[in-house]
Each structure stands twice: as structure tokens, then as C-alpha cells.
Amino acid sequence: MNKEEFISSGLLELYALGISSPEEKLLVEENLSQFPELKEELNDIEGSLESYAQANALQPSSDVKEKLMNRVFSQESKVESTQAPVVSINKRNTSIPFYKFLAAASIILLFGSIVLNYTYYRKYNKATDDLQVAQQKIEQTDASNEAMTKDLEVVTNRYARPVVLNGTANSPDAVAKIFWMKNTGQVYIDPTNLPQVPAGKQYQLWAIVDGKPVDAGLITTEKGTYHIQKMKSFGKAEAFAITLEKEGGSPAPTMSEMVVISKM
């Protein structure tokens, strides 16, 4: 097939229309590379078809272009812009900066420390309070032990000679005891069973020596309670008596205020 025969065969038209068979297509492409003039002929045919297509054009609605341009060009920029975050996410996943770890750890430790501090501070306070209470109790116990030991020493002293002082008509229920040490003459009084002293008053012990009352000392209370206490010493005495006197005592007993008296 020469050039003219090929042109008039209609193969170029079919090729331009896109409906040639694979063999025809191959044949056309071979001839095109062989005869450059065929290229011109094909170009004419294609140009005619293009004009024909333009003559039958149907304009699409304007938003098609908008969508298309967005899709084609913002898609490209999307690909670029999504690549950047992907990298940064990876970075974030693989290496959190060390100072961030430190900061996070510090905050956790700080909170832990605050909680522990608070807990231990409360425990410490309670322990201190408990200790003080315990120490006070011990002191009190020691004090009362000491007092009782002293009382007991007096009572159990082998030289102690007990003297009972019985209530007078003024206070029939009142009782007092004297422990009089025969070897030394020391006098101890146990005022435990005397009535409560009225305010501004004080009990005073008297020894009756040769028929006359001699001051034997004031009876004191210790925090409102009586203990056995040492009075003045007497070598001899016919009797002992306790009167209620004004605070600080009196030089001579107020006989009307006698509470107890002994019978020797």
C-alpha cells in the first residue's frame, strides 16, 4: 500500500476516531513513522473531528471547573501539607524531649512528696501529742506514786505511833490520824478524812503540852487533796487537836472552831 492508497483506505479516519482494530492501529502507526506526510493528513482529520466536537460542545456547569481545580491543585497541596504533620507525629512518637520527661516526672514526684509530707506531718503531730499526754500521765503517776510512797513510809514506820483524832460536836463525821514517831518526836498528820475547807480558811494542828495548846503547823492541801504531811515535832504532848482558822493560821486556837481532838 503506497501513501495515496493508504490515505484513501479510510484507516487514518478510523484511527482518528479511535475505532481501529489493534492490527489497523499498528499498521497506521508504522506508516506514520515511515511517511511524515501522513502525519499531516492525520492532523487534518483530527482537526476536523475536533472542530466537529467543538460544534457539538455542551458547556458543563461552572462548579465542575471549581471542583476540578480544587481537587487537582488543593489535592497536591494537601498531599504536601499532610506529609508535614505525619513527620511531626512520628517525631513526637519516637522522641519526646528529655526535659519534658523531667518536667512530668518532677510534677509527679512533687505531688507524691506533698501527699507524703502531709501524711507524715499529721502522724508526727499526733505522735508528739500522744507523747506529751503519756509523759504527763507518767509525771502524774510518778507524783502520786511518790506521795503514796511517802504516806506509806509514814504509816509503815516501825516507830510510828498512831493517834486518832475524833470529830467534835462541830463536825461529828470528821476523823484525822497522827503518826507520831516515838524515836524522833516527828509528827505526821493524815488529814484525808477532814471535811472540805471553806474558802479563806485553813486547818491548823495544835499540840496540848502541859495543858496548853501549842501551834503544831498548818495543814496544807496539794491541788485540793490532802496527803500525809509532816508537822512540827513534839517530845511530849497530852493531846492533839485541829481547829479551823483563817488562812495563814492563828497564834492561839479558836476553840469554837475545833474540828477533831485526840484522847491520849
Partner: protein, 178 residues
């Protein structure tokens, strides 16, 4: 701005956005007209048109100007997409719903818009084409019929399709050159 086809191809190969915009402005109507003739559905035609231009853009490096004109290459891509759509299941459902009357209306509505590509009176010249010649070109060009299908459709021997097509195309060329 008007590009020569050579310049346009060079710019498009370099990924020039304004060249692509020009390409669309210049050829979307012609391509859409062909898709519409195959599909008869405005919205679907426009979807295919969009897909076709995406494909044209993405595959532009494979265009070889020694094998034919740019428009021919673009049309082949577009027509293949339209044919794929026609063969797909979704289209068959859709096409039953589509009314041909609406389709005709749509075409005539758009005639005025076509005028801007019709400065040389192409449209008028084309109307001078004999009906049977127009038909054979349209079957191949606008409807994507194969030679076999054309011979069946027109009731002519397969060998005659080539010569008839050649004659019709010669006439078209003559009319357009006037």
C-alpha cells in the same frame, strides 16, 4: 491568552496550573458534549468530565504528540471513562430513570453557550453534512461504537464501514474548510 497546542503541551508537562485551566476552558465543552451524547445524564456526564480531566492531568506525561493531536488523546481518555461508566451496574439503573425528553431539552438549552466556540460558523457548516454521513461519524465519535457495531447498526458490511467513514470525513473536512 491563547496557547498554541505545542506551547500548551510543554506547559502542561511542566505542571502549569494556568495551562490546565486554559485546557479545561478550551476543551471541557467539546468533551462534555460527547460524554453527554453517550450518557444522557447531565450530572453524571459532568462527574465523568471531572474524572476525565483529573486523569488527563495525572497522566499527562504519557501524552505523545507524535501519535496524534492533544484533543484526540484527551477524547480517548474521556470516552473510555464514559464507556466504563455505561458498562458499570450503577449506570444501568440510572439510565432507566433518565428521560430522553429531558435530555433533548438539556441539549437545546445549552446551544447558546456553544456559540463562543462557533465563531467560524462551524456549527452551521456541520449542519450541511448529509444525514447518513453525520450518523456514521456520530456513531463512532460520539457514541463510541466499534466498526462491528456500526456495521450492525447501519446494516452495512464491515468492509464498507471504512469507506463510508472515509467519505463522510472527507465531506466534513471539506465543509469545515469552506
Amino acid at each position: 491568552m491563547i496557547y498554541s497546542e505545542e506551547d500548551l503541551v510543554v506547559l502542561l508537562k511542566s505542571g502549569d496550573e494556568s495551562a490546565f485551566s486554559y485546557l479545561y476552558d478550551h476543551y471541557s465543552g467539546a468533551l462534555n458534549g460527547i460524554i453527554y451524547k453517550m450518557i444522557n445524564d447531565t450530572a453524571m456526564a459532568e462527574d465523568i468530565l471531572q474524572e476525565a480531566f483529573v486523569k488527563i492531568w495525572n497522566n499527562f506525561s504519557s501524552y505523545d504528540s507524535t501519535k496524534g493531536r492533544l484533543f484526540t488523546w484527551m477524547l480517548n481518555i474521556t470516552r473510555n471513562l464514559a464507556i466504563d461508566t455505561i458498562r458499570s451496574k450503577g449506570y444501568k439503573k440510572q439510565s432507566k430513570i433518565q428521560s430522553s425528553e429531558i435530555a433533548v431539552g438539556n441539549v437545546s438549552n445549552n446551544i447558546n453557550e456553544n456559540e463562543r466556540f462557533d465563531g467560524l460558523g462551524i456549527r452551521k457548516q456541520v449542519t450541511l453534512l448529509k444525514e447518513d454521513q453525520k450518523r456514521i461519524i456520530d456513531l463512532a465519535y460520539f457514541e463510541g461504537f466499534t466498526q462491528n457495531e456500526i456495521s450492525q447498526q447501519l446494516g452495512i458490511p464491515l468492509g464498507t464501514v471504512k469507506t463510508r467513514m472515509r467519505a463522510a470525513m472527507s465531506e466534513l473536512k471539506r465543509l469545515l474548510q469552506n
